[in-house]
């Protein structure tokens, strides 16, 4: 066999690279994140949970286009068994953060897990940030 050490060495490097995911965490990984339920006790969202889980970014995108480009600012009404009738404007701060007020415990828990880095927060502020600004 020609250049045995070189070829077997190269093959070993390749196998190590391909199996990175297997030895990266040394076969240990924490459980997947569970986003915090709304602190205010709301149990009904603007859309079914399954839809929100997979497609919330699409909804936010549609809202953004409707509000900013088409000036369709009609509100969304949700009937919550505990909090009664809730009325939301379309938007991250107007709707989502009203119930899911804790960005770190809700948004970030999944986004960091799957390395999704939406640029919402370059413009929007979390309730905590707003409170700290108002305190100044």
């Amino acid at each position: 066999m020609f250049n045995k050490s070189l070829i077997l060495g190269g093959l070993a490097v390749f196998v190590l690279l391909v199996t990175t995911p297997f030895w990266y965490g040394l076969l240990k990984a924490g459980p997947p994140p569970t986003p915090e339920p709304p602190p205010n006790g709301a149990s009904v969202c603007v859309a079914p949970v399954e839809y929100m889980r997979s497609s919330h970014m699409k909804l936010l995108d549609v809202w953004r286009d409707e509000v900013i480009r088409e000036a369709k600012r009609e509100t969304i009404v949700v009937n919550d068994p505990k909090l009664g009738t809730l009325e939301f404007g379309k938007g991250l701060q107007l709707a989502c953060m009203d119930c899911h007020s804790n960005k770190e415990q809700f948004c970030d828990s999944c986004h960091e897990y799957v390395s999704a880095r939406p640029d919402c927060w370059t413009c929007h502020m979390t309730p905590a940030e707003i409170a700290s600004k108002e305190a100044l």
Binding site: A29, G30, P32
Partner: protein
Amino acid sequence: MKYVYSLGAVIALMLIAWFGSLIPGMQYFFGVAVPYLAIVIFLGGFAWKIWDWAKSPVPFSIQTTCGQAKSLDFIPHNRLEAPNTNTEVIARMALEILTFRSLFRHTKADVYAGPKLTYESAKWLWLFALIFHYSFLVIVIRHLRLFLEPVPAPIVWLDWADSLFEMGLPTLYLTDAGLLIGLLFLFARRLFTRPVRYMSLFNDYFPLFLLLAIGITGVLMRMVFRGGIDIAAIKAMGVGLVTFSPVVSPDISAIFYVHLFLVCALLIYFPFSKLMHLGGVFLSPTRNMRNNTREVRHVNPWNPDIKPHSYAAYEDEFREYMVEAGIPVEKELEPQKEAAEPA
């Protein structure tokens, strides 16, 4: 017509995964069993193929030279095209592997009335091959975010750079577009360039369709059919696979299983197909040998150890028998017998 069979094979694979994953309980088969089988066959097949190539004899020094070999001092040596030292070979190999230098030489041949044959430079193949391969590499690395927990910073940076233009939500990855554009070109080349079409086979079209289907299902899953694509549940599956504690979420939609099954099919197909150029490019003797046949005699290491046997030595060995058989010899037998008799 050959591309129709390849397309049919890919569609069949997609249908298997589509309807198979809808059968209750089969998510475990498509989400756990097939991926494990695929990675084992991929790695085993890859190593076997490399081993098979590595032990094949290379009896001749067969580097392709595209320039002046090292010669007398006053003749300029083309160090990249006829590498003489290991360093020069590494430089040549690196340019070949990282920039596809031999594709850069691709020419297009045309026959005009006359008949007159012309060749002209055609860089399209090189350009789109480069776009496709680098896009594919980035996509593969990017997918590590679904297997590694926590996600390493370089993968986050790569993800950021790839979605730099922030088109759409979720953002469009540039490499997704690059992969599909590159593949479509490579397919169109096989379809519309007549000589290439003539020599294209089932196994030329099949990987193209397979990769196209993987790319298209991936983009659709991200950008269009979000329903049932709970990315956190998918990552939990990926992490479960690599930590040998597989979990399957029942809510993931069929398109994900189609995507995953096609990737598994690609992994299984890989070691036994032309796709092995991933490993083969490193082992191609026409590129990885030194062009030093003027300085060093190339001896096949598999040659049996045959000592030179001159005629004189041959006659020494068989002289008695030759004389006995009446074959003329250059040197007569020593007169030992005659000397012995009188005594």
